[in-house]
Amino acid sequence: MSRAGRGGDSGNTVAVLELHDVSKTYGQEPARVYALAGVDLSVRAGEMVAVMGPSGSGKSTLLTIAGSLEEPTSGDVLVCGMALAGMPRARRARLRRRVIGYVFQDFNLLPGLTAAENAALPLELDGVAVPRARAAGLAALEALGVADRAGWFPDQLSGGERQRVAIARAVVEDRRLLLADEPSGALDSVNAGEVMRLLHEACPRGGAAVVVTHDAQLAAWADRVVFLRDGRVTGTTTRPPGPESLLMPGEIR
């Protein structure tokens, strides 16, 4: 209780997500496999971080650990200043439903629910009264420009619309931490860019996003890109100068 109370609402000074020396191993020595090996990562409020790396680099593991879907073998994970280790199961589940939003590669919308019902689902699962949950779901659809699809079922939507609904579900009622795994799925590059734009814009005041991708064009939407290889961070971009610096590359010959 006191643990949650101290870090929970002290504003922007607290990182939304912190990983301290996080490792994840599978199997026993000598055949132990490191999926993550001593990863440190801190994501500030309002920041979008892309984690880039080849397949098998550990980036999906990093995301599932950040989302408390999996536990690290060692190291600490803090979400909004709250340590996940030792947190009671029920509290953790509540954190997943109210603080963290997920966007998956294949959208994962429930086919039997309308767009509005899908968007409201995390709140309803958390026991929020249906009218209030639906209103929040509708507001999220509105913010993503698909309010006119509220009553449609996923199989009636285009790929781009489906992903917008999925993002709406992930951000419904201002979740603080948005986690996305290859969120552009099989969309073409223009639509994929649109998804990243929406995620970046949805990265709400006080919220943050971590996007895992192997695609440099998508990673470039992030404020910071962290490179992962064999479970280790091998580099990170520094905040690049503004785009003005690109506009005057000199006269054309």
């Binding site: 440099a216 470039a220 939407w221 971009t237 785009p243």
Partner: protein, 194 residues
């Protein structure tokens, strides 16, 4: 070079003044490529000399002069649009050279070299993407130019990724017998090209 043909394209819409051409050139290329006015007049002079454009015929120089495209100019423009640009690789791609060298110089960590270049390319991509987020939303020309840069840099990063995998594999494999030599990049021959 494409400046004369872009000017011809602008003239194909109707007669125009030099300053107007400069403005439209910059707007039409997403304002990513600045063009000075001296260059505009120099190019117009050449187009006139080659019979691809003509001016009002007044002896006035400078901004009062209006230019129009000729029949020959239209043909040249159509021909240029359909002629593939030179897409052969530069004789010595500096980045390729750096990675080739890094793989051979003792004591150099090629992965570190690759990573440094990858971070730089991605930072550039981030800058271009910021443009996409802002102005390029409503500016088709700029959006097209930004996409071109992003795809080019993306290709650089993919090549670096592939290079890294190859180096890793090469390091893991036992050296082959002398009868089947490992194909080593021939720096001397590449360097001598052109």
């Amino acid at each position: 070079m494409s400046v004369p043909h872009v000017l011809l394209a602008l003239l194909s819409e109707g007669p125009k003044y030099g300053l107007q051409l400069r403005e439209e050139f910059e707007a039409g290329t997403g304002e990513v490529w600045p063009l000075n006015v001296g260059q505009v007049y120099k190019t117009l002079g050449r187009l006139e000399r080659d019979g691809l454009a003509e001016s009002d015929g007044t002896e006035q120089e400078g901004p009062q002069k209006r230019f129009r495209i000729t029949v020959g100019g239209r043909q040249a423009l159509v021909g240029w649009l359909r002629t593939p640009p030179d897409l052969t690789s530069p004789p010595r791609d500096e980045l390729v050279m750096k990675v080739l060298v890094a793989a051979r110089v003792p004591g150099t960590d090629a992965h570190e070299v690759i990573q440094a270049h990858r971070v730089y390319a991605l930072e550039l991509m981030q800058q271009w993407t910021r443009l996409k987020e802002g102005e390029a939303r409503d500016d088709l020309s700029l959006a097209l130019v930004v996409d071109a840069e992003l795809f080019r840099l993306d290709a650089v990063i993919r090549w670096l990724d592939a290079a890294e995998v190859r180096l890793e594999r090469a390091a893991a494999e036992p050296p082959r017998p002398a009868s089947a030599p490992v194909p080593v990049p021939q720096l001397r021959r590449l360097g001598a090209r052109r």
